[in-house]
Symmetry: C2
Subunit: 346 residues, 2 copies
Amino acid sequence: FLVYKTTASCLDAGEALSCNLYMADPITSLDEISKKKEDMKFKMELFCLKLQRQVCHALEEIDGSKFMVDKWSRKEGGGGVSCVLQDGTVFEKAGVNVSVVHGQLPPAAVQQMRTRGKKLKEGEKLPFWAVGISSVVHPKNPHCPTVHFNFRYFEIDDGTGNTQWWFGGGTDLTPAYLVENDVIHFHQVLKNACNDHDKSYYRKFKLWCDAYFNVTHRGERRGVGGIFFDDIDSPSQEKAFAFIKSCGNAVIPSYVPIIRRHVNDEFTEDEKCWQQLRRGRYVEFNLVHDRGTKFGLFTPGARIESILMSLPLTARWQYRHEPSPTSKEGELVKVLREPKHWIPMD
Amino acid sequence: FLVYKTTASCLDAGEALSCNLYMADPITSLDEISKKKEDMKFKMELFCLKLQRQVCHALEEIDGSKFMVDKWSRKEGGGGVSCVLQDGTVFEKAGVNVSVVHGQLPPAAVQQMRTRGKKLKEGEKLPFWAVGISSVVHPKNPHCPTVHFNFRYFEIDDGTGNTQWWFGGGTDLTPAYLVENDVIHFHQVLKNACNDHDKSYYRKFKLWCDAYFNVTHRGERRGVGGIFFDDIDSPSQEKAFAFIKSCGNAVIPSYVPIIRRHVNDEFTEDEKCWQQLRRGRYVEFNLVHDRGTKFGLFTPGARIESILMSLPLTARWQYRHEPSPTSKEGELVKVLREPKHWIPMD
């Protein structure tokens, strides 16, 4: 793996930062990482940090402003690197967060995993390690869609000394206005990333995405979807990681061309207002339904600012705002109510 | 009861609306109400509708604009009257909602009530009837605080043919800037309403309010409190109702003088921005923690627009916005982190 090799050689020289690979030093000490270069926990951490830098740089290039970088640590174990670009030229708010969280998973959380089919010892605290990257990008122009992506790796001791591991993640697009060609491009890039690994993935993960990003109380999806998956633990750890890397590397080519295409689109005050209403729905999904956000908000010692950096800078709620079904706004609502197959599913 | 008598005589004449007592016809049919004038369900419904009109008229007088009135029905049983004033002169968004919901409470909800100590038959659907008024008023001027109030009456058949009933509710204030005299006035009016009924109420319900409106993930209260209570079923149904009426009638005198005092206060762009950030916290509490909102969002057939009319017209989330502790903004945050006793507790 080129990524890992380059990193490793920098780490050996204790010069990870001067290599300019990351936005900040890794969360795990370089000493610990260099002792266990083949450990997936650390390979995933370095991949997340590298992807973070790539995404931040791609967005900085478009915006002209720089990301603010915060490195933080969690007293219960682990820490993170949070990068935020706020009130820029092109982006209203863009956050890219890498975190490493480890410690003892409480019995209640273990129980929840058991209901998801994990074979774990009941009623005990179990040692775990979670690494992930999570990002939401809200542009200012209502013709530029919001994107979200998240990739994570989880390891847990099952209570008998065996380690269970899996990957999860996804990428999805949330426009205020529907531009069918953009959505097709976005899905096609994600499908290509899937197809390199398993021809059944795109169909499965596209449908999973539509099912997950469902604002049930509104009867609407959050956006036009993408891919979403969890519990990826086959065919092998290396192959699962290769799939995650393909998905991570697809983020920029799936999204950046859409932003470049619309960044100078003219827009009216009414269009901006509609975008703000859609931002309100985004907040509703994240605070009411999103599993990750809810888990974070109720986790002691969690860094709230990093969890809630997914929220837009501004949002709006208007009583009984109902766009006409034949308007551009109504067109979007239609596909949110009945998700479409944007490209061939197989 | 003057309120009821006046209403009753109108109802007898089938002229409730021409009496100008309500914003819309009662939800329950006049026919059904007039047959059971002494039934608490109907007395509470008429009280809520009368309070709705009084609050709407008081706010219309300040704002100069009119409330939009929606009467809706729920196919599973009941309905409501939702009044909203949006983007007015003084008020950004003010919603006053009366609803009557009845039908069969599912076993899961019955189970939840049992954990709260209610003696109800397990594992069965039980017939229930809920009547309530709920309101949030968000003014435009950052020196004018937000107010929320809610009063409700609940009746349930315990499964053996006996009816259990109780009242709940409260009123609380959420300023963006702390004006101690306003908060003292607000609490004093509520305390007077409590003291007319039970000298132990204010202390108990003030502390309950601080405990309930807790944005736990921020370590902050939503605002400067007020009163909050549930399961009021003593000393008698009439006396409990009299207490609820005193609380309801205290809303206007507790709040309107504060608005009149500050409606013409000058404010800066920075102060408006701080108000918008506080609005964001309000959204966080309502969507993440508020029992009533969450219950509503997951209730099939609920009218989402009426539940979410508590959300502000606009809100803001800024990464790591931390006011200096000695600023006016910091002063507010201090009392949100450590609730104060604004007036003598006993």
